[in-house]
């Protein structure tokens, strides 16, 4: 990403650089939105629905999303299932191992706020947003596969709107 980071600075100095930058932005955003490879990361109930979404009935591949087992090659963590206090550092580590640009979908109530384990549980992390930055929250316990697909499409829309210049700060 090193080159890409500096690219906007150089291009803007060129004559017509703005135009190049805009089209470049479009291409990169489209590419990133349309090829979200997700990490095979599932902890609890939502993992089963994640599996179902990848299966024939709902088919993640349709959106260009395929699973990768290693975080280095993934663009997206779908945090499917409860994140406990013991698991939280691992999730952070997985996130740190991912290459920029990386995104996180919090799937299900547990990852948003603890869900049914918010009260009375001594070991559940109450929301993963204080472990990793989250781009999209999907409610449900577990969310239906359609909810997940809708969340992913929503995330794609969000990615398509991002600005190349935002990258420099990241």
């Amino acid at each position: 990403m090193g080159v890409i980071k500096k690219l906007p600075i150089y291009t803007e100095k060129l004559p017509g650089g703005g135009l190049i930058l805009t089209s470049l932005e479009t291409v990169i955003n489209q590419a990133q939105a349309k090829s979200l490879w997700y990490l095979l990361f599932g902890t609890a109930c939502c993992a089963i629905e994640l599996m179902c979404t990848g299966a024939s009935r709902y088919d993640f591949d349709r959106l260009g999303m395929i699973f990768r087992a290693t975080p280095r090659q993934a663009d997206l963590i779908i945090a499917a299932g409860t994140i406990t206090k013991k698991m939280a550092p691992r999730l952070r580590r997985l996130y740190d191992q991912m290459a920029e640009p990386r995104r996180v979908i919090a799937m299900g109530g547990c990852t948003i706020k603890g869900g049914p384990f918010y009260y009375d549980s001594y070991s559940v992390e109450k929301g993963i947003d204080h472990i990793v930055p989250v781009d999209m929250y999907i409610p449900g316990c577990p969310p239906r596969p359609e909810s997940l697909l809708e969340g992913c499409i929503h995330l794609q829309e969000k990615i398509k709107k991002q600005k190349l210049s935002d990258w420099q700060e990241k």
Binding site: I48, C52, T84, M87, R90, D120, S121, S123
Partner: protein, 367 residues
């Protein structure tokens, strides 16, 4: 010439690893590819369900129990309801019992279909995984039609079931049974006799019967070792004594037998569902249970046979509207305990096969 030095090295398998079915961590000591020592580390999914149950009323415990073993959530619900009914001595209407059996068995099939897919995927065949989940969708549709959720049903309640089945349930259920029967041929054709599948599974991870007994292993894993022990027959609960079904057993206790046994169980479960559908009586679906359900003080340990062995719950009540203590017991807990015994001295690839064939899911272990 310098002497060659070999070194054992430690590999962390998990907590995030594609073949640990969730978040189990195995600390492996390897010599080359050979596994010399396995130390399972659990607790990555310890959600304190037991503590939560202690602070919920009995009716509220059931959605929590759903999360205990989400692959066969029906059996958890049944288990808790059964224990509470035993405590309060509630008679469950006939129709409700039949509906419960139908749901339990359908859920067992769904769980075994996941097993089929996941095991195949762990051994490297991706297509069976999708085939297994495809048929599972049919069962999930039935559940959704009946109780409105795909995974956490909250259907079986204390004293009966929450809703009667819709009229289109029965034809659809029979159709699903027919489809699964047909597709089982495909499943068997894909893997059963496939030479690669055979060499990967036959004779791998043999669990001798006495070792299984010592470690309290139950369910398909134990039956594959030749011990004919099934709570549905040996300690009958619900109305299982009214159905005509067999308990399949196998002798060798290796991965292949465990796999075959589960396919056999799918067939038996299909038979039970059909019998239950045929004999489904009319009547009430729920006994009268007051909203402020307060069982008398006492304690009970109830158990059911789910797709991973004995699922048990111990409830102690002090006469209040919340249980004093709920202790859950899942079959996977014991099966993970036995993994270091049968998984050592094999290759990493075998360990994956063994782990898959034990059909361990982590919420049962960690709770």
């Amino acid at each position: 010439m310098a002497e060659l030095r070999t070194e054992e090295f430690t590999v962390n398998m998990g907590p995030h690893h594609p073949s640990t079915h969730g978040v189990c961590r195995l600390i492996l000591t390897l010599s080359g590819e050979k596994v010399i020592k396995i130390v399972p580390v659990i607790g990555y999914l310890h959600r304190a369900l037991e503590k939560i149950c202690e602070n919920r009323t009995y009716a509220q415990c059931i959605p929590v129990m759903d999360r205990f073993e989400y692959v066969t959530a029906m059996s958890c619900e049944y288990l808790f309801s059964n224990a509470a009914e035993k405590l309060a001595e509630i008679e469950v209407p006939e129709r409700a019992e039949y509906l419960r059996v139908i749901m339990l068995e359908l859920n067992r099939i769904a769980s075994h279909l996941i097993f089929y897919g996941v095991t195949a995927m762990d051994i490297g065949a991706l297509t069976p995984f999708l085939y297994g989940l495809r048929e599972r969708e049919g069962i999930i549709d039935l559940f959704e039609m009946t109780c409105g959720q795909r995974l956490t049903y909250n259907y079986i309640r204390i004293g009966g079931v929450s809703k009667d089945i819709p009229p289109q349930f029965e034809p659809k259920c029979r159709e699903t049974i027919k489809t699964i029967r047909e597709k089982l041929n495909d499943y068997e054709g894909l893997l059963n006799e496939n030479p690669i599948w055979l060499v990967r599974n036959k004779g791998i991870g043999v669990l001798p019967a006495d070792l299984g007994i010592a470690y309290g292993v139950s369910g398909p894993v134990l039956r594959a070792s030749g011990v004919k022990y099934d709570i549905r027959k040996d300690d009958p609960y619900s109305i299982y004594d009214r159905f005509d079904f067999e308990i399949p057993t196998r002798e060798n206790g290796d991965c292949y037998d465990r796999y075959l046994l589960r396919l056999d169980e799918i067939k038996q479960s299909l038979n039970i569902v059909e019998q239950a559908l045929d004999a489904l009586p009319e009547g009430d679906i729920k006994a009268k249970v007051s909203p402020n359900f307060k069982p008398p003080a006492g304690e009970v340990y109830a158990r059911v046979e789910n797709s991973r062995g004995e699922l048990g719950v111990y409830i102690q009540s002090d006469g209040g509207k919340k249980p004093l203590r709920v202790k859950m017991r899942g079959g996977s807990f014991n099966q993970l305990q036995v993994l270091p015994e049968i998984g050592t001295d094999c290759l990493v690839a075998d360990l994956v096969a063994i782990f898959a064939s034990l059909d361990i899911i982590l919420p049962e272990v960690d709770r």
